[in-house]
């Protein structure tokens, strides 16, 4: 079969090119996010398995297993049982670990390996929309992933403040993910080699945040000279907020503002930097 090439070149069905450009200017971020989400569909089952399986494993191993020991020794932590104490922190940490995976190698694939970003860059989309679109798609994924984690928490009875207040762990998880993910995306976009730095980030940035930022024990247990790890870590700020949401952990209004401000500042700074780097890289 052969197509009618004249109709192919001009069918009369397409909107004008000016309309196309106007739509791209207005909604380009969503258009690119749609593509990224479509691509994730290829990994739907692995992602789902990971999203449900990981919280289950952590809850059982750390909350119940380790929790039983802690319970026998210290009794309670921060006024609640260990499972309740550790669950919101695990939600935040696992989302941050996932965002690390999403904002490193896939960014490299976009610029270099599969050159995926170069396709939308030749369309009416602007590079900044490509950067934001990728982030938005990842955020949508983490809303779902955090929701699943929250449901697991509810099922284990690890969110005593009730579902209405504890549901706030979802936006907290997502905000923490962007606070770490957006700057990481901007940094990954500056790399022109094969991304050897990513393994380093995984080991020396993400793991210490996971281990020393108040996830498994309150920051106050650590000697004062190690507190800075928590202070500069989005994971600690996110974890404090998540604990406030899930069991009403004591957080002063001032600290609430500090936590939120820190996470928002990192997110906004990361996005602005990302837009700049993507523009420089795709349009030069």
């Amino acid at each position: 079969m052969d197509a009618d090439t004249n109709a192919l070149a001009y069918s009369g069905r397409a909107p004008g090119h000016g309309v196309m450009a106007a739509r791209a200017r207005a909604r380009g971020v969503w258009y690119y996010a749609e593509t990224v989400l479509r691509g994730m569909r290829a990994y739907f089952w692995p992602i789902l398995l990971y999203s449900v399986g990981q919280p289950l494993i952590y809850m059982v191993a750390l909350g119940i297993g380790l929790g039983t020991l802690v319970q026998q020794g210290a009794g309670s932590v921060d006024g609640v049982d260990y499972l309740t104490f550790v669950a919101p922190a695990l939600l935040v940490s696992t989302v941050v670990m996932s965002v690390t995976a999403e904002m490193t190698y896939p960014v490299m694939a976009g610029f270099k390996w599969q050159r995926l970003y170069h396709a939308p860059a030749a369309s009416p989309l602007e590079p900044g929309q490509v950067a934001l679109g990728h982030l938005v798609a990842v955020v949508i994924r983490f809303v779902l992933q955090s929701l699943v984690f929250w449901l697991v928490m509810l099922a284990f009875g690890a969110a005593p403040s009730g579902w209405a207040q504890s549901l706030l762990v979802v936006p907290v998880g997502v905000l923490t993910a962007t606070a770490f993910g957006a700057p990481l995306q901007a940094y990954a976009a500056t790399l022109r080699d094969e991304g050897f730095q990513f393994a380093f980030i995984q080991r020396f940035v993400v793991m210490p945040m996971f281990l020393f930022a108040g996830t498994f024990f309150p920051l106050s247990v650590l000697p004062t000279y190690l507190h800075w790890i928590g202070w500069i870590s989005p994971v600690w700020h996110g974890t404090e907020l998540a604990r406030l949401a899930s069991y009403g952990a004591p957080v002063s209004p001032l600290m609430l503002a500090v936590h939120l401000g820190f996470l928002l500042a990192l997110t906004v700074g990361g996005v602005l930097a990302g837009v700049r780097v993507y523009t420089r890289r795709l349009h030069s």
Binding site: A14, A21, A119
Partner: protein, 308 residues
Amino acid sequence: MTEPVISAQGLRKEYGDFVAVDGIDFEVHPGESFGLLGPNGAGKSTTMRMIGGTLDRTGGQLRVLGLDPGRQGPEVRAHLGVVPQQDNLDEELRVRENIVMYGRYFGLPRSYLGPKADELLAFAQLEAKAKAKVDNLSGGMKRRLTIARGLVNEPRILLLDEPTTGLDPQARHVLWDRLFRLKEAGTTLVVTTHFMDEAEQLCDRLIVVDHGRIMAEGSPRQLIREHSTREVVEVRFGSQRNAQVVADLEGVGARNEVLPDRILVYTDDGEAALEEISRRGLHPITSLVRRSSLEDVFLRLTGRTLVD
């Protein structure tokens, strides 16, 4: 004369001290197939990217459909179809999805994209592969998919950067046929290539570029007439003897060109020249009479061959 769809005056691109495009002027007219012929690194792709609004120029004027690609990037790119030198298909999407999702970047609704994707797959002769993974396509099929994808917005101008580099001869001919049909349908084609046969097949008019400058401009036939003779005799005496023999070939043709593996004798009558060569008692190992090509034009203009 109709308004040009692309016009460049003194177009210039510098990267620090390096001048990639050194003040070039050209116009592309609607429905025309316009070529940029030159070796790798001549500034062809840089020029293409400036037209495509993904690279800012350092100087000069550039208008695409009356718009400035440096300032109205999205508007310019909405009018264009772009087929880049390196494939950038999304391997996580299926073949048909690659067209549909790309169409979304132009704000095109799904009601339009569904039938359009099917028409484009038919045009690219990929109907049977609609649900296949991109990974499983051959090189030629990937190129055709990239072209199909670039046509999803019904562009006025299709930019093709080295469209057949890396393809086998049969795949190239299939591709040229598709592009020829598009041109017949009124789409303006802008093609960069370092293959003279591609330029001769596809281009109505072309500029020969080297070191960021235009060396010559015209239709393939015009360029050959102006810068070469009608025919060329290629003679080989073995790599050792070529250089020695060239003095004896003086005066056989209009001029000679010595390449590492052969001597080119430029003449309007190849057979007569060949007879003259053997009359002079020279017996080449192989000899061949052929028509002059753009390769000869390039060699004449730059003293170098197109493909090293």
